[in-house]
Each structure stands twice: as structure tokens, then as C-alpha cells.
């Protein structure tokens, strides 16, 4: 699969769907923390739906898949599958590749990494804040 493939990932997507390719570059280099947080929000929103999480799980099991094949595996119609794939594409989690009359979908997990990074950063910040709170209240109770 060459990099010249057409991708619909950036089509009409929100800020999370910056036209960043999943292949070739592992670092999300010039992105600010703020942009990363925005992407995390879109990713979490996309994955809030249980059916979409099943679609993502199905996509992790093979390089590419068609909407029809997915509809055969999941208890939903092909149209519903297409809708979920489009929502995932808007969050930058899925890219569409057109081969002749067929559209094949591929998981592009970079935004997931961004979301995980947001969780790690926000979690570490709370750990620091809560340690300060604990120390403060401990001082109080010793008085």
C-alpha cells in the first residue's frame, strides 16, 4: 500500500482530524499540548459509543476492512457501520482508502496515543495537586 492512497480522514473533520498520517512518522512533532488535548476530546467522544468501540476492535484484527465485511460480523446494518466509520474518521481514528469501487477502512491509532497522553498528563497533575492538599491538611491536624 503506497502513501499515494487517497485518504478521507481530513474530510470535514474537526480539529482532531488534522491531516496527519499514521504511517512514516511516529512523533506528533510540532503539536502543542493544547492541540493534543483537543484531539483527546474528539477521540473520547468517538469512543464513548459501545458499537464504535466494537468497530475499532474489529479493525485492530486486520489491516483493512470494508463496511460490508464489518456489517457481516456486527449486529448492525451496513449503513450503520458506515456512519460509525465516518464518526471514527472525523476523530482521526480511521482512514478510508478507495480501491476501484471498493472503500477499505484502516485503523489509524495515532490520536489514541494523544488521548492516552492527555490522561497521563492530567493524572500526573492531579497526583501533584492532591499530594499538596494532603500535606496541607496534615499540617492542620497536627496543630
Amino acid at each position: 500500500m503506497s502513501d499515494a492512497r487517497r485518504s478521507s480522514r481530513a474530510r470535514g473533520g474537526p480539529r482532531a482530524a488534522a491531516p496527519r498520517r499514521s504511517s512514516g512518522r511516529s512523533e506528533a512533532s510540532a503539536e502543542s499540548e493544547g492541540a493534543g488535548e483537543g484531539a483527546a476530546g474528539a477521540v473520547f467522544a468517538a469512543l464513548a459509543d459501545p458499537t464504535r468501540r466494537r468497530v475499532v476492535r474489529a479493525l485492530t484484527q486486520r489491516p483493512t476492512v470494508t463496511a460490508s465485511a464489518l456489517a457481516g460480523e456486527l449486529p448492525i446494518t451496513r449503513q450503520a457501520v458506515a456512519k460509525h466509520l465516518s464518526a471514527l474518521a472525523d476523530a482521526g481514528l480511521v482512514s478510508a482508502e478507495h480501491e476501484g469501487r471498493e472503500t477499505r477502512y484502516r485503523l489509524t491509532p495515532d490520536p489514541l496515543t494523544d488521548a492516552m497522553r492527555w490522561m497521563a498528563t492530567a493524572g500526573a497533575q492531579w497526583d501533584e495537586r492532591l499530594a499538596r492538599l494532603e500535606r496541607r491538611l496534615a499540617r492542620d491536624s497536627q496543630r
Binding site: 488535548e37 464513548a48 468501540r53 497526583d127 492538599l133 494532603e134 496541607r136
Partner: protein, 134 residues
């Protein structure tokens, strides 16, 4: 990935009673000793303000909900960033008070539960700490 997996969630046992713990959450001077380095915010529903850290970081804050001695919900964001919802909840437990902190992107919360329109025109989601496992 359930909703609670998409949130940062922390639990802390505080060796003080709930009244003392509440003071640490709702008094700006107290907040400036642990939450941020500089607190320009009153903990009143609808209040807006700014938190600053010595690192140069800054968050613009809206107080979404205040339940006296029980819960504070904030919506905050870095300038130009996406908002997240922060919920601080206190519970009585033997020997002290339990503080539960939940933070998650506002977008994810709205998607999971759908926003609620408040009479003020603001939108608000669910009780996150309630949704998370005890």
C-alpha cells in the same frame, strides 16, 4: 472503554472532617495552597475566573455546580484549548473524608450522556463521580 475509563479519576483519604475538607475546596486562599499557585476564582455557581501556576500554565475556569459541603464541578480550559470537566466530591468515611476527583474532556462527556440545557443557557452533563465505580 467505559465512560470511567475515559476520565482521570483519583481518590484521596483526608484525615479531617468534611467541613474542614470543604473549606480546602471552596476557599480561594486555601485553593492557592494546593490546586494552583494563583487563584482568581470564587466558588459560586456560574462564577468565572483564572487559575495560574508558577510554571506559566493558566486555566480559564467556570464554576458549573456547587453543592455545599459535598461537590464542586468546574469546567476549565487552557487559553485556546479544549474544555475539560473537573468534579470534586466529598464523602464521609470512617476516620475522615474521602475526596474523589474526576476530570475528563467535556466533549467526551457530552457524547456519552448528552448535554442538559440549564435555564441559564449553559449546558451541563451528568454527575461523573456518581457514574464511576465507588
Amino acid at each position: 472503554m467505559a465512560i470511567e475509563d475515559q476520565a482521570v479519576r483519583r481518590e484521596l483519604m483526608l484525615a479531617v472532617d468534611r467541613e474542614r475538607a470543604w473549606a480546602a475546596l471552596c476557599d480561594p486562599h486555601e485553593l492557592a495552597t494546593w490546586l494552583a499557585d494563583e487563584v482568581e476564582l470564587e466558588i459560586d455557581e456560574g462564577a468565572e475566573g483564572v487559575l495560574r501556576w508558577d510554571t506559566g500554565e493558566e486555566r480559564l475556569v467556570t464554576v458549573e455546580e456547587v453543592q455545599e459541603s459535598r461537590r464542586i464541578s468546574l469546567r476549565w480550559r487552557e487559553p485556546g484549548g479544549e474544555p475539560t470537566i473537573v468534579e470534586l466530591t466529598l464523602d464521609d468515611v470512617p476516620g475522615g473524608t474521602r475526596l474523589i476527583v474526576v476530570e475528563m474532556p467535556a466533549l467526551a462527556l457530552d457524547a456519552a450522556y448528552g448535554p442538559i440545557e440549564l435555564p441559564s443557557g449553559d449546558r451541563w452533563g451528568p454527575r461523573m463521580a456518581m457514574a464511576a465505580p465507588a
